[in-house]
């Protein structure tokens, strides 16, 4: 017989794993609120009892912070809006139509998502340089479409499959046109799916580093992640407090959005994988 380990022991292990996993996030926030003498002290202060907002002020007043936040927002919103609009159409084709070349299109959509980004930096850089798109936000937006599009097509297709086709067929019988069905039935029902997919696309593009690093040289044209990456390493004595405050600021929108939609992912994850 297997020995029964008491649940209490498992709970203790579970709490320990939680502490280890979450510690880096805790340490980032804790450092961000600590006065400098506590940060450089050899004996660490675990929880800042007298929190300061100085590091956040320092972080947002560093050169290019607001400009780069604006760049990130422009790039993310245009890339996401374009991708979702185009991908939604293609997703309808995949979920509702059979056509020659459908399999090829699926291979394309899945395969592209597996390409390592590093492998594409050279050709994208050279081609975009040719058309004077290096160091422009539009060049980065185009580049981001390469990975947001296929991913959005695939995700939206999944949501579409969850909507019973009978609804549309019934409307067609009632004399609705294809366009009418799309506007009156599909679009409202797809609301949650469109929001979730947009949020994922937002997170991926907001976090993207390598293409932005390569394509944008001008500090006033960079994105937040590139701005954050230069924070460290530019000076010999890193201002850890401000760096952690800046890291917290960069992470907050992503964490908030991610928590909003994460349940949807955890749900779909395995059922498909297992039955597939």
């Amino acid at each position: 017989m297997r020995t029964r380990t008491p649940r209490l022991v498992w709970d203790a292990v579970g709490v320990a794993v939680f502490v280890v996993m979450v510690f880096p996030v805790f340490w980032m926030i804790s450092t961000a609120f600590k006065p400098n003498e506590q940060i450089v002290s050899l004996t660490p202060t675990w929880i800042p009892l007298h929190p300061t907002l100085q590091h956040f002020r320092d972080a947002i007043h560093r050169p290019y912070f607001w400009v780069d936040v604006k760049n990130s927002l422009i790039i993310v919103s245009v890339a996401v809006a374009l991708s979702i609009a185009l991908a939604f159409l293609a997703a309808i084709a995949l979920a509702r139509f059979g056509f020659a070349g459908r399999k090829l299109f699926i291979v394309l959509v899945i395969g592209i998502q597996m390409l390592p980004q590093a492998g594409l930096i050279i050709p994208l850089y050279v081609v975009l340089a040719r058309y004077h798109q290096v160091n422009t936000l539009s060049g980065v937006i185009l580049t981001y479409l390469t990975f947001v599009l296929p991913f959005s097509v695939w995700t939206l297709r999944g949501f579409l499959l969850g909507i019973p086709k009978e609804l549309e067929e019934a409307a067609m019988v009632d004399g609705s046109t294809r366009l009418g069905v799309f506007v009156k039935i599909l679009l409202p029902l797809m609301g949650p799916g469109l929001v979730a997919t947009s949020v994922f696309a937002f997170i991926t593009t907001w976090n993207e580093y390598i293409f932005a690093r390569i394509l944008l040289n001008d500090q006033s044209k960079q994105t937040v992640t590139v701005w954050l990456s230069y924070f460290y390493g530019t000076s010999r004595h890193t201002d850890w407090g401000a760096l952690m405050a800046a890291s917290t600021l960069t992470a907050v929108p992503v964490v908030v959005f991610f928590l909003l939609v994460q349940r949807r992912i955890a749900f779909g994850l395995t059922s498909g994988a297992v039955r597939g």
Binding site: V22, K103, L115, Q117, A118, V127, T204, F231, A273, V274
Partner: protein
């Protein structure tokens, strides 16, 4: 598109496989409608990905440096770039290092992820909620942010890791430099990558555990099967498809990882002695403005990853075609 941190995208990819319904009846539209619907996506991808990929092949057969970049015209040199790369000791050493690195990262991620999943299944309700929320929080951390936090925690001056290890009497780690040797540098990168990848793997596997029928486990217990045997003979076979998908995704991501090693080791400390594949091509191709040679390395890398992703892509395509 692969990146150690883009698990959200992958999750979405897997998500697409849920809620599937047989839709053989979906084949009503025979006309031009579906083609019109996919045309914008196909054209965009052809333009911004297809053309650069075609260009990549051409570049790899050319001498293409800064001068050629300005002139917009490369000089054809046949297979010289391929000869140069394949005769480069650094290429082979980097390839070997990347393979070992990938194996270590994927192995650790999968084993620890499985253990956390099993743990999630055993703890009491409140602890399960606590642990899974913690995992989701870690999952949501942007890669560049995680790198900065890691750099701070392992800083040799005031890094909390040195303090804790010294206090726990693991040894004297006061002012220990974690980025002094290649092994130590890559170990730090591995810790960072595994930490970031664990939530995705653990939560996915935990959800998969729910599909193991309880009566099977009970029957096994009645028969007197030990915990390890139950896991090996019942749980593991049922989880096999998920494990296969997660493992191939992890291999693809970790083989091509760039941001974590590049930023955590720091550009000033990156040398041919600690190159990983994508850093090698970044340094040799982009940084030295030798785009022709860089294209050759890229192409070789794409081929390797292409071969690695066959298992995953085939499985996902089958799901896609069936629905």
């Amino acid at each position: 598109m692969a990146d150690g941190g883009s698990t959200a995208a992958a999750a979405g990819t897997l998500l697409g496989t849920s809620r599937r319904r047989r839709s053989a009846a979906a084949r009503l539209g025979r006309g031009a409608v579906p083609y019109a619907l996919i045309a914008p996506v196909v054209l965009t991808i052809a333009l911004i990905l297809g053309y650069p990929l075609y260009f990549l092949v051409r570049l790899s057969l050319q001498r293409y440096g800064l001068f050629e970049l300005i002139r917009h015209q490369g000089v054809d040199i046949g297979l010289a770039n391929y000869r140069s790369v394949l005769h480069d000791q650094i290429f082979w050493h980097t390839l070997l290092r990347t393979v070992v690195f990938t194996a270590a990262n994927v192995g650790l991620t999968m084993v620890l992820g499985m253990l956390i999943a099993l743990l999630l299944a055993r703890v009491s309700g409140p602890v399960r909620i606590l642990l899974s929320s913690g995992l989701v929080l870690v999952w949501s951390m942007p890669v560049v942010v995680a790198v900065q936090v890691w750099a701070w925690m392992t800083s040799y001056e005031n890094g909390v890791v040195n303090y804790v290890l010294t206090e726990l009497h693991v040894g004297d780690y006061t002012q220990h430099e974690w980025y002094g040797s290649t092994f130590s540098q890559l170990s730090m990168v591995t810790l960072l990558i595994v930490w970031g990848a664990l939530p995705f793997v653990a939560i996915t596997l935990y959800a998969g555990l729910a599909q193991v029928p309880n009566d099977l486990l009970e029957a096994a217990a009645v028969d007197g099967a030990a915990g390890w045997r139950v896991f090996r003979d019942i749980t593991l076979p049922i989880l096999r498809p998920i494990l296969l998908i997660l493992t191939s995704l992890s291999i693809i991501w970790d083989f091509g990882v760039f941001t974590q090693p590049y930023l955590l080791i720091g550009q000033s400390k990156i040398t041919p002695g600690n190159f990983l594949m994508s850093i090698y091509l970044f340094e040799d191709g982009y940084f030295k403005s030798d785009y022709g040679r860089g294209a050759t390395i890229s192409l070789l890398m794409l081929v390797i990853v292409g071969v690695l992703s066959v298992v995953y892509v085939r499985r996902m395509v089958r799901i896609g075609v069936e629905t």
